[in-house]
Structures are given as structure tokens and as C-alpha cells.
Symmetry: C2
Subunit: 151 residues, 2 copies
Amino acid sequence: MVDILHRVGIKAPLDQVYKALATSEGVAGWWTTDARGDSKVGGVLKFRFTRDGKELGGFDMKVLELAPGKRVLWQVVEGPAEWMATRISFELRQEGAYSIVLFKHEGWKEPVEFMSHCSTKWAIFLMSLKSLVETGKGQPTPDDVQISDWH
Amino acid sequence: MVDILHRVGIKAPLDQVYKALATSEGVAGWWTTDARGDSKVGGVLKFRFTRDGKELGGFDMKVLELAPGKRVLWQVVEGPAEWMATRISFELRQEGAYSIVLFKHEGWKEPVEFMSHCSTKWAIFLMSLKSLVETGKGQPTPDDVQISDWH
């Protein structure tokens, strides 16, 4: 089992960061503009990725935990084979002027090349989250930063 | 054992990407401007990080492998405890118009919080490498993108 790990610090109160993670409207501001579904515990969020008018696919995530100001946990229930049953968590804590986000995408069966891609891409999206909360403007898909031929 | 993995694609020939990885002048353009030492196999590269005139520390890396257009491998011989004896590799290959860089920082004993930080920061620096090779301008320390209270 191999995990993707990241850490960013966001100059904003915890509740603002939490809101950007715990609601589909929030996630639409930094990951993908096409974010829908039921964001309550037990509900399923649907994230779709469209570029140049073409749907590239997406992920359905079951919301497993929501602890305001502390933690958000999703499990992938639909998506690419490598993502199936993996879990994505965001742990939050205050550290001076910063809200620290500890990100983990765990449960990958193999460290395939697609995992390396997703690791870099998650870093880019976490910087988009930081930007959204600090400035009011993120860079969600389809305006996300391109990192390679796989976008 | 846990690894940091990343993948970026750079729109440039392999030899340009290789040059930015295999020489201290190259690395100075995307990681830290204070990059010195002997970049031949068996030599030791010294990377130092200075911000606001204050040296924040750095890393000494022994060059273990240099395969032009294919692979660069370093081993940490001096630096923070968590980095000691870890290895950093860059695997290169052509994919259409892109040079693909598969990055691995392996040999971490524990997935400590500092590892999460380094994972995000490596993504940022690989994007700086991409920018350097594609546009001629990277964002090495001290002008690197700030990701948190740990910078």
C-alpha cells in the first residue's frame, strides 16, 4: 500500500478551509467546477472533469466523515480502476495564523505512473484550495494548471 | 518505507531537461540558486537555501548515476535527519512533444509531517523545472512559491 501525502498552510480561519472541503460548492471553487451531489455523511459527491467541452471522466466519493474544523474523509465509489476504494482525507488544525491541511490519498494498490501524476496534480489542486480561501479565487478544472501531456 | 512520487511533462527535448538536472548550474535555475559542487558521478552537490539573507540549511547529495537523457540519481549524504540516506531520482523519457519526468524521493523511514510538506514542495519545484526548461525562467529559492508556514 502506498499513499499520496501533502501539507499546505492556508492563512485563514479553520472554518473557511473546512467549508471549502465539506460542501460541493466549496470543492467547485478549487478542484472542478462540476461538483454536485449530497455532501452529508453517507451521501455521494460527484466530481466531473470537462475540458474543451469534452467530459474526461470523474469520481464519485462517498462522504465517510465530516468533523467541522478538523477532518473530511471521502471514499471513492466510482472512478478509474486505480482509484476504486481508495480514501481521501483532509486533516485540519490551527498553527498560528495558518490553517494546516494534511492531505492523504491512501489505499493505492501499486505505485503506478498514474499515481505519480495524481500526486503532482493533488499538490496543484491544494495550492488552488489555498488560493481560493486566501484570495477568493481558485483554479479548478477546466482552468487548472497543466502539468503534462496528461494535463 | 514510503516514497514521494511525482510526474510532470515538459514540452522540450530530453537533453534540455537532462541538463537542468545533471549540472549544478541547471539545478540552480529551478531548485535553489545556491547550488554548487561536483556534479560528476561520485561527486557531491551542495544545495543551500537562503531567505531574507538567512541560511535555512540545505542538503549535500552524492551523485550516484548520470545517464544522459535517461536518469539522474542522487543520495543524501548531509541534511536533516529525515533525509539522511534517502535517494532522489529523475527518470526521463520522450512521449510525443513532451519529456516525461518521473520523480521519486525514496527511503523515508516514516511518513512524518515533514514528508508531506516535502511532497508538496517537490511538486512546486518540479513545476519550476518545467517552467525553466519551457520558458527559460524557473522559480528557485529564494523566489520559490510559498506553500505554508514552513514555506
